[in-house]
Amino acid sequence: MKLPKTLGIVGTVVGAAAAMLVSPDPVFAQGGIPNCADLENPIYMTGTTAVTPVVQLFGARLKNVHLTLLWNSLRDGCGSVGDFLSTAIDTSTVPVYSYYQESTDATGKVVALQCNAARGKKADLVINDVGYSSCNSGAAGTLPATAAEFPGPVQGAVPIVPSSFFANNDVMAEELQAMYICGSIANILGLNPIYDYSGTTSGLRELFARDIGLPGSASINSGLGTDLKADSIVGQVSTGTTSFGYTSTEFYDQFRDRVNALKVRGVGQKLAYWPDSDKTNTDKINIREGRYTLQGTLRLVTKVDGNGVPTNPTVKNIIDWFQQNPVDPSLQLPFDITEIYAKGGVVPRCAMKVTNDGDKAVFKHFYPAQPCHCAFQVLATGKTSIPGCVPCGGGAGAVDSGVTAVAGTCATNQICSHGYCEQP
């Protein structure tokens, strides 16, 4: 039953490229690395390293439906948007992209491979941690009319310490300000050294700065910026005894055995919270309900026409999938991206109960049209029985949640959404 859907996606998405359904072996360039252009229906993506775990899972699944998601995160979120918008073409180097596929053994792990892009090849789609107007790079500002930002899932920024550090398990926003404005001289909780990202290209740094109550990353001590990435900062912190940094929820979930997250008391808050209900859970409940203040909506940036529609039809499909928008049945994915988000460490907007304007930790209520609170909770925690969550199936607008949906009757003020009775 899944196979016809798969074929439908390819046939619709790539149109004339349908002849490539049975993909020939890639033509390898010198050194055994294939040319990206020779891979099956490549789509070039770049942006924040923070979201790489999600991209890996999504790319491996898309590979099964004959799309090759190519990923390059060397220039961070803000830097990548700047490159994307720039009219300058860099032909000095050969861009190296990663692409992903599921291993053929029973582990289901994702295998990362690499390919060489053409010199000067620009990405089709960029993922940033913040809006471009929040970036600190020189050209930051409003997007031109030929480009647009589309909201994606929500990620968190997580203060981390080595797993052997037990002196404290919480931190205040004001303490984070002191650490990142004054550095180790602030002597907060005895944490030293303090690691940070690039001051001009990192989007995660902009998100972090705003969420701890600063106007932006320009307020942060530039001497801390060591141009680390969201994954490498985990490595740096984990090898020390009192070292400190922050990463994304995506990478924190991947490396909980190596680092500890500190609870955060945000500006104006009374209590400190983890992103999840406890240290071992992955339900992201405090992000979803607005108690965990270090969070932000990922932005999907691409070229658009005069109506604001992505000019690249495959990019439009990917944005629709990322946003879980209703799509033509022929474009329906044979998997649920809610599962990708749950396993990748981010929260789909359909599982959010709050939202914010801009990139500051100022929240208001959010009511998604097709909620997936229960489906996300089930997929993120692995618990099949969640109090208050009644499975259903066949309701209007119901989407395959990736879990077994059984027939059920929802209350009059509920709808069947993502396999569960939900209140819109």
Binding site: M172, A186, Q269, N286, G290, R291, H365
Partner: protein
């Protein structure tokens, strides 16, 4: 006129200084009296009586954060979540220009 006044004054002082006695006893008295009385009386009585009964049955009753400002949601609308208090004092190092 002032140019001629000062040399004349100096000359006068010089001449006075040459005298062994000075019987001059200048006297200058000025009296000024100003009286102002302002009387203002204002009486205003405003009586206002508003009775309003609002029944909000939505799950977020009493949590209309949009109407009351930036941090209202965080302070008042986010119960639960297994939060814990932090007993440390807020550091002042930032206000002290990074002096511990």
């Amino acid at each position: 006129m002032r140019r001629g006044f000062i040399p004349a004054l100096l000359l006068g002082l010089l001449l006075v200084g040459c005298n062994s006695t000075n019987s001059a006893s200048p006297s200058n008295t000025a009296t000024s009296t100003a009286t102002s009385t302002v009387t203002s009386t204002a009486t205003s009585t405003v009586t206002s009586s508003v009775t309003s009964t609002v029944t909000d049955t939505t799950p977020d009753a009493g949590c209309d954060e949009d109407a009351v400002g930036e941090n209202y949601y965080i302070q008042n609308c986010t119960p639960g979540g297994n939060g814990t208090p932090i007993l440390r004092q807020i550091p002042t190092v930032v206000q002290n220009n990074c002096q511990p």
